[in-house]
């Protein structure tokens, strides 16, 4: 799959793409390894175990999951993904093949990887005794949440490029996303970019050089207009 920007591939980025323009994101690409990856950062749990835990309604309560920041970040992201997947599936029954298990499991795997603590991002304090940090996982979770909740997109992958462990070092935020059918891509990307920047400005001291949003995929969403069109066609 090409990593070229949509425009470079002749895809109009200032208009709604036709529904058959599906460019599946390769979420399990070889370069999907994250900086600061620590296998123990989900406190010994796998994303499959967390998925089962959600299926069971978080019962019986597992303290090792509920008291783990990494697990909590992953669970929040998985709940948002479930809600959006449900919406997509409801519409896809009417309009197009359902998202494949690979598509969903790819995002789940990314959530699991990104929720891990990763690198330490410094927070300044005048005292020499102070060692204040944000985990990279917390910041990736923040970015994913900002992107997921802005509407019109589903975040597939989040990366922080640059040495986040050094205060003042410029970093680039790379976000891969899917856009829901009917959303103008440029406008949706701009909304996500603004939301992410606002969150980073509020919660971190990172020097953000750029936030690059790459749209790899288009999915039909449960837009009332789409359903109305479909009803008309049926008639």
């Amino acid at each position: 799959m090409s990593d070229e920007p949509l425009q470079a591939r002749g895809v109009p980025t200032d208009a709604v793409l036709p529904v058959d323009t599906v460019l599946p994101v390769d979420l399990e690409a070889p370069d999907a390894v994250l900086d600061g990856f620590e296998p123990a950062d989900l406190d010994g749990h796998t994303i499959e175990q967390l998925n089962d835990y959600l299926d069971a309604g978080r019962q019986p309560l597992d303290p090792s999951i509920e008291n783990s920041p990494g697990c909590q970040i992953a669970l929040s992201a998985m709940l948002r993904l479930r809600e959006m997947s449900r919406t997509l599936l409801e519409t896809d029954v009417l309009s197009e093949p359902a998202p494949t298990d690979t598509w969903v499991s790819g995002i789940l795997n990314r959530i699991g990887l990104e929720a891990r603590a990763g690198r330490d991002i410094p927070v300044q304090h005048p005292s020499p005794a102070a060692k204040l940090t944000l985990t990279e996982g917390a910041v990736r979770g923040l970015i994913r949440a900002a992107g997921d909740t802005v509407g019109g997109l589903l975040i597939g992958r989040v990366r922080l490029v640059g040495d986040v462990t050094l205060a003042g070092e410029p970093i680039t935020v790379l976000v891969d996303a899917s856009v829901f059918w009917g959303e103008p891509i440029v406008a949706a990307a701009a909304r996500v970019r603004e939301a992410i920047y606002a969150e980073l400005l509020k919660h971190t001291e990172l020097t953000v050089a750029s936030i690059d949003v790459t749209v790899h995929d288009v999915h039909r969403s449960r837009a009332p207009e789409a359903l109305l069109v479909r009803t008309d066609e049926d008639d």
Binding site: S68, G70, A130, K131, T133, A138, K202
Partner: protein, 153 residues
Amino acid sequence: MDDLASLSATLTAAVRTVTGVTAVYASAPAVVSAASVAASVAATVAATAAASVVGAVAGSVGGRVAGSVSRSAAVLDASAIDVSAITAEAVSARDSVRVSDGPGGLVVSVTIGVDEADSATEACRRVYDVIADLLAAAGEPVESIAVTVGRIG
């Protein structure tokens, strides 16, 4: 040790009251389940048994091995241990500010969750200030205080 545990409890309670803090996590949490405790106990039994042998051969190692050997009798009786009790205790102990003695004073670390509505960096600094103020008031020398934000939102 009791003093450190008591101090940890006091600091944990104080950190929980800091504006913006939603959770206090262990700095180095680990999965604690009946299975993992049982596995840990089994591994300890094996390691201690091995240490006993090494201690017998290399007696010059002295007190450290002797300590392991003296504990081995109790540890070897792992089947008598109430694993569920260990699990509950270990999980409770995770949820706290960690305090230990360092060469230059106390070494404190804590991982927190922060409310999305608050600034994570500001909450992080507030937690540091609360811990530092409490330790200063208690006249405790401090080597370092590490505050990590593990989750936002």
